[in-house]
Structures are given as structure tokens and as C-alpha cells.
């Protein structure tokens, strides 16, 4: 049975799209047939992060409005088998997404895929609510910073009330915390909320911790999800995250200041 997972946060710029792209890629690399859907109608960006922006012909809204079939709109990833992208529309009409339309598409995708990842837009408006409405699980992306944590808590409230699972009194949406842009040295100096602070305030299970990393910008510059950069800290952290999502027990990494070896200190270039 396909799992629908929403990647959400409330606040913008915390790494939702980066995470949706990286986790989807990781799932596909593990052999899971995965589709990632961009729900940010009007401001699509997932296509850029996935590096398929020049292959977009039809989009989510085209499919909902019946102007194209689902198979015409799905873009097959060039790097990994089993990975597909459904881009958002650039239309400015916010009402282009309908609940019935989204439900129809998700039902159709469920037949074919193991994982359906919904990349939510920022905010708590229609697009964000539709992205989470049908979800079985939610990955709440949070930066160690006050406004992000507060907004994540707001999103947790919505996940518990404005989703199909909540409205129909089914099992609640399974909530996972994904902390991104974590900087262990700033945590050590007392200028950044610790992992445990965030966990304690939001009181949900930690799925993963992604360190602040130069690899992330490098990945988005190139349109290659950071999971492919297997040598990088962020790439490895996302791979761990995917393993945990698949139910494996992985020890936490990158949450403490890395001690550089002598050779690394002498010859090591930029932090990876």
C-alpha cells in the first residue's frame, strides 16, 4: 500500500523542497517507487532542485483540470530509476487546486507507487492544507530558530485537526521531526537551540538531523539532490533519514562538533 507523506513546515525557506527532493531520491535509491509532487502552485521550485526544469510540459493543475493525463505530466528522473516528479503549475490562480482533484490524482498514484511525497508550500493557506490533507505521515522541517519552531508547532496543530485522518477520526497522521541547518558549533557556544530543546518543545519523534552544509547550495546550484553527494555530511544525513523512514534504527550523526584530524586540518579544504 502506498504511503502519502507530506513535507511541511509553516515557515518558508527552512528546507522543505531540498528535503522533499533529497528524501524522495533516497527512497528511490533504496528501490522504492517514489513520486514527489510540488504543491506550490504559482511558485514551483521542486523541478529546479530536481534538475528537470527544462523537461516540464504539463503540471499538477493541467492534470486536475483534465488538460493532460497523469502519465503525460509525470517526469521520469534522469539519475535514479523508480523516481518521478509531478511539477506545480506556474498559474497565479490559487483556486486551481481542488480537494477532489488532488484526491483523484493521489488515488491514481497509489496504484503505482510505494511512496507519494507531497512538497508543501510555506504558510497555512489552501496549497499547504491540500498538501497535508490526505497524508498518512508528515515530515515537519524545522530550523533551530524561534520562528521556525513556533510555526512547526502551528503545523502540528493543523495536522491534528485539518487532515482527512483527523476529520474522519482515523489513526492520526504520523508526525516526524526533521531538523535542518543545524550548526553544532553554534549550539556549543550557546547561540543555537539544541536538538533536545527542539524535541522537548515540539514533543515529536526525531526522524533526522541535517547539519548546515555547503553541499546543499552546491546541490541546488547543480539541480542534483544532495543525497547523490554521498561524500557530504548533508548527503549522508539524508541517507540516514531515509533509513529511519523505512523503519531502520540509525544512530544520530553530525550533531556534535566534528573534530578535524591533523591531516585534515593541514590539507583539508572547504568543509564538506
Amino acid at each position: 500500500m502506498a504511503k502519502i507523506i507530506v513535507v511541511t513546515s509553516g515557515k518558508g525557506g527552512v528546507g522543505k523542497t531540498t528535503s522533499a527532493a533529497a528524501i524522495s531520491t533516497g527512497l528511490a535509491l533504496r528501490g522504492k517507487k517514489t513520486v514527489v509532487i510540488d504543491f506550490d502552485v504559482g511558485l514551483r521550485n521542486l523541478d529546479l532542485i530536481m534538475g528537470c526544469e527544462r523537461r516540464v510540459v504539463y503540471d499538477l493543475v493541467n492534470v486536475i483540470q483534465g488538460e493532460a493525463g497523469l502519465n503525460q505530466a509525470l517526469i521520469r528522473d534522469k539519475r535514479v530509476e523508480n523516481l518521478f516528479i509531478l511539477p506545480a503549475s506556474q498559474t497565479r490562480d490559487k483556486d486551481a487546486l481542488t480537494q477532489e482533484g488532488v484526491e483523484r490524482i493521489l488515488e491514481q498514484l497509489k496504484q503505482d507507487f510505494d511512496f507519494i511525497m507531497c512538497d508543501s508550500p510555506a504558510g497555512i493557506e489552501r496549497g499547504a492544507q491540500l498538501a497535508m490533507y490526505f497524508a498518512d505521515e508528515a515530515i515537519v522541517v524545522t530550523n533551530p530558530e524561534v520562528s521556525s519552531v513556533r510555526d512547526s508547532d502551528r503545523i502540528l496543530g493543523l495536522l491534528g485537526s485539518k487532515t482527512r485522518r483527523a476529520e474522519q477520526s482515523l489513526d492520526p497522521v504520523k508526525e516526524h521531526l526533521l531538523i535542518t541547518r543545524y550548526n553544532p558549533s553554534r549550539v556549543t557556544s550557546g547561540d543555537m537551540l539544541t536538538l533536545d530543546d527542539i524535541r522537548e518543545i515540539l514533543s515529536i519523534d526525531l526522524l533526522g538531523l541535517i547539519p548546515e552544509s555547503e553541499a546543499v547550495l552546491r546541490a541546488s546550484n547543480q539541480g542534483v539532490p544532495v543525497t547523490h553527494d554521498a561524500a557530504s555530511d548533508a548527503g549522508q544525513a539524508y541517507t540516514d533519514t531515509v533509513s529511519r523512514l523505512l523503519g531502520e534504527d540509525m544512530p544520530l550523526r553530525f550533531h556534535e562538533v566534528q573534530r578535524k584530524g591533523l591531516l585534515n586540518r593541514m590539507f583539508g579544504g572547504s568543509r564538506r
Binding site: V146, R150, D153, R154, G160, G190, D191, I201
Partner: protein, 83 residues
């Protein structure tokens, strides 16, 4: 030495200040979570009515809705100033 300690303590503070502030605001948000959408408006209008008779501060009114088995209880607490 004293100065150094002082500076160090100041630097340590920002993350713990953030944590304290978040704990308060998140507790407040969670208190409002299950409540109906009309509660903030109800609270504001009740405050207006009370102010027609007594001058009270914004935070002098506390309103909460508790659901028990088959009924809901709307609790209203107003702290009146000493006259």
C-alpha cells in the same frame, strides 16, 4: 577574568532565552488548539462588553473551553481592578 566570564555568560544566554520564549508561546498556542474558530472573536467581544462597565486590561480576561463527557464548559475569568 571577571569580564571574560560576564561576556561568556551573555553569549550562553541567547539559545536559552529562545527556549524559554518558545515554551511560553507554544503552551499558549496549544491551549487554543482544539477550540472553535469563534473563540478569539468571542473573547474580544466579551472584553468590549465588560469594558462598558469596568475598565480592565487586555490580559485581565481569561477564557477557556473544556469539553467533558457530553457537555462543554465555557469558563470566563475576569480580574477586576480595585475600585
Amino acid at each position: 577574568m571577571k569580564l571574560l566570564e560576564f561576556l561568556k555568560r551573555e553569549r550562553k544566554k541567547s539559545a536559552s532565552v529562545a527556549k524559554e520564549r518558545l515554551q511560553i508561546i507554544v503552551a499558549h498556542q496549544r491551549g487554543q488548539r482544539g477550540q472553535p474558530d469563534y473563540m478569539p472573536l468571542l473573547e474580544r467581544e466579551l472584553l468590549e462588553v465588560i469594558r462598558r462597565y469596568v475598565q480592565v486590561d487586555d490580559d485581565a480576561i481569561q477564557i477557556s473551553l473544556d469539553s467533558e463527557d457530553n457537555c462543554s464548559v465555557l469558563e470566563l475569568n475576569v480580574t477586576l481592578p480595585k475600585s
